[in-house]
């Protein structure tokens, strides 16, 4: 499939971060077009485009927007929230959009807000993204000065305020109800659903939450027309996506491709293949929370249905390439450590289960696990799945269960041989996860030598 860029088109050859550059390629024409249309007509274009959410879940954007009440039918304000809390491991594509085509994103925010009749939009931006904050803030200032947002947008009589809200380091705030809690000034712990945010979201008001890339697609849909946009890509997976390519690959980076492009094309032709003459072993196709694919599945197309048929998900479009130096038990341990660190603690299966997973995987990796403990690991995964308010627990259980299912021999060898078969030569050997750092930090606080030694022995005894 040939490469096809929509969102990042022209960004290679021009500076689109400034308003003048963006206007020179027809920027904000889609907003003008939208303001000349009825809100329902704009929504119809989004429905025709059949664009599915780019954040991870893949829910059709037009349908999500159609769940909100008409502004005349609700006494409450309607909110738009842009989810820019990108933090799924392997994913860095929203950053690319924010840094290189910020006005495309802003235009998408304004059109989406107009479509649902909202006068207040929030951009929940990942706290670590400081450079992105500066670029987006500057773009908003320019857009405001040019009348694209603020009071009386382009003379339409409609007002829109946009506030950038910076997070402070919590993966769970990318989950939409965790995000809303955080934006309301609380710990980012997800809410029960229903009610869904479309009915009762931010400040218990109707709220549409869309990912950065999804919103950046909106001006392109209006430019092309929904029906024409829907013809890009493959059935049920319209359009392009910005794929984040990382891991053991020559040219890591973000690549915008038509949906339906195969993993092989992305990894070998665009990514330059595996470095150092190594062999492809496994591929995580949609961020660290999705089930793994083996090297034999490298011809799977990157679209929603093909990934589902292969037993995995397109997720956030983050493709992590893993070569034959990687121990799959260590991979499972590192993934589980991440989700343990990020579990908000609200639901027991996730809070306790991710800890169980880490402990069991560590025992397996160290060659100290019994046969039964491998079964316990799978049992813990099973008891997390579907038993929590949000998908974070599933995001730990699904990939780890898939590593066992697809690389069972490797797990078995750890048990049979009483040691890691890689013998310390795995690419992930000894990697220090933040969850393991706390002991080191504790030791650093103890300055009196005698007490320090005592505390260290205590930590070892209990650690």
């Amino acid at each position: 499939m040939p490469r096809r860029e929509l969102l990042l088109e022209d960004a290679d050859t021009r500076d689109l971060t400034k308003l003048a550059g963006y206007e020179a390629i027809g920027g904000y024409a889609s907003l003008r077009k939208a303001l000349d249309m009825e809100r329902q007509a704009v929504l119809a274009e989004l429905l025709d485009a059949n664009v599915r959410g780019r954040g991870g879940a893949g829910f059709p954007m037009g349908r999500k927007a159609s769940f909100l009440p008409h502004p005349d039918d609700t006494p409450k304000p309607i909110y738009l929230v842009a989810n820019a809390d990108e933090s799924e491991p392997g994913t860095f594509k929203d950053r690319e959009i924010l840094l290189r085509v910020p006005h495309l994103f802003v235009e998408g925010v304004v059109i989406a807000a107009y479509t649902i009749g909202s006068g207040h939009a929030f951009i929940y931006l990942r706290g670590e993204y400081l450079a992105e904050f500066e670029v987006v803030t500057a773009a908003l200032e320019e857009a405001r000065a040019a009348g694209y947002l603020g009071k009386n947008v382009l003379g339409s009589g409609w007002d829109l305020t946009v506030v950038v809200h910076r997070g402070a380091g919590a993966y769970i705030c990318g989950e939409e109800t965790g995000l809303l809690e955080s934006l309301e000034g609380r710990r980012g712990q997800p809410r029960t659903k229903p009610p869904f945010p479309a009915i009762s979201g931010l400040y218990a008001s109707p709220t549409l939450i869309n990912n950065v890339e999804t919103l950046a697609t909106v001006p392109k849909i209006l430019e092309l027309g929904g029906k024409k946009y829907a013809r890009i890509g493959v059935e049920n997976s319209a359009g392009t996506r910005v794929f984040s390519l990382s891991g053991n690959v020559v040219n890591g980076g973000n690549y915008e491709l038509e949906l339906g492009t195969t993993l092989r094309e992305l990894i070998d032709e665009i990514g330059g293949g595996i470095p150092d003459g190594r062999e492809l072993k496994a591929i995580i196709p949609g961020g660290s929370s999705v089930p793994v694919l083996t090297a034999a599945e490298v011809d799977t197309p990157l679209d929603f249905d093909s990934m589902a048929q292969a037993g995995t998900m397109l997720g956030s479009g983050a493709v992590i390439v893993i070569d034959d130096r990687c121990c799959m038990v260590q991979l499972g341990l590192r993934v589980a450590q991440f989700y343990m660190h990020e579990s908000c603690g609200k639901c027991t299966p996730c809070r306790e289960g991710t800890r169980w997973m880490v402990q069991l995987l560590r025992k397996i990796e160290e060659g100290e696990a019994t046969q039964g403990e491998l079964d316990v690991l799978l049992n813990v995964c099973d008891r997390i799945l579907g038993n929590c308010l949000c998908p974070l627990g599933d995001a730990a259980a699904m990939p780890v269960a898939s590593y066992v299912a697809k690389f069972r021999d490797e797990f078995q060898r750890h048990i049979d041989e009483g040691a890691c078969p890689f013998g310390g030569e795995s690419s992930l050997a000894g990697v220090l996860a933040p969850v393991d750092q706390h002991d080191a930090h504790l030791r650093s606080q103890i300055e009196v030598p005698g007490i320090r030694a005592e505390r260290e022995s205590l930590t070892e005894a209990h650690g």
Partner: protein, 156 residues
């Protein structure tokens, strides 16, 4: 402290409910207090937002970017999540440990630099990602570490 109070009130005015401003308020307070949040920082934020200090601490403790203990004047954060780990994040971390003479999670004895590992920073295709005082360095190889530490020492 009235400067901080006014700054927090001004941020709070952007939101329909002032409690929404707790993250920006804590960020301002942390800057004011040398990179961490001592008990008086929670009192300041609580006063400005009409919350309790305990509530402010409970919220702060949820988020990785807020520090409840003193940290160095500079912060070096090494991503050791999967994509970075696959391309040698541990070797980069160990190079920093060697260069700074502290383990991950520790601060240098002169109080200049805190070194820590972090979860995915979002630069996976350009691993290993190292964040120095909120600025991304990518990719970082073990041989780049001495130069980064030198620049940090020169800056302080």
């Amino acid at each position: 402290m009235s400067g901080l109070y006014d700054a927090i009130r001004s941020v709070a005015a952007r939101y329909p409910e002032s409690r929404s401003a707790i993250l920006p308020a804590l960020r301002l307070a942390q800057q004011e207090h040398g990179g961490w949040l001592p008990p008086e920082a929670f009192r300041d934020v609580a006063e400005a937002l009409e919350l309790t200090p305990a509530y402010c601490r409970a919220v702060a403790s949820f988020y990785d970017m807020f520090h409840l203990e003193p940290v160095g004047r500079h912060m070096v954060e090494v991503c050791t999540n999967v994509s970075c780990a696959l391309v040698g994040a541990q070797q980069v971390l160990e190079a920093f440990e060697g260069e700074l003479g502290v383990a991950a999670g520790e601060t240098t004895p002169d109080g200049e630099v805190t070194l820590r590992t972090v979860e995915c920073a979002g630069g996976c295709g350009w691993g290993t990602v190292v964040v120095v005082d909120h600025r991304y360095h990518e990719p970082v190889r073990p041989e780049d570490v001495a130069e980064i530490v030198r620049e940090l020492r020169d800056a302080s």
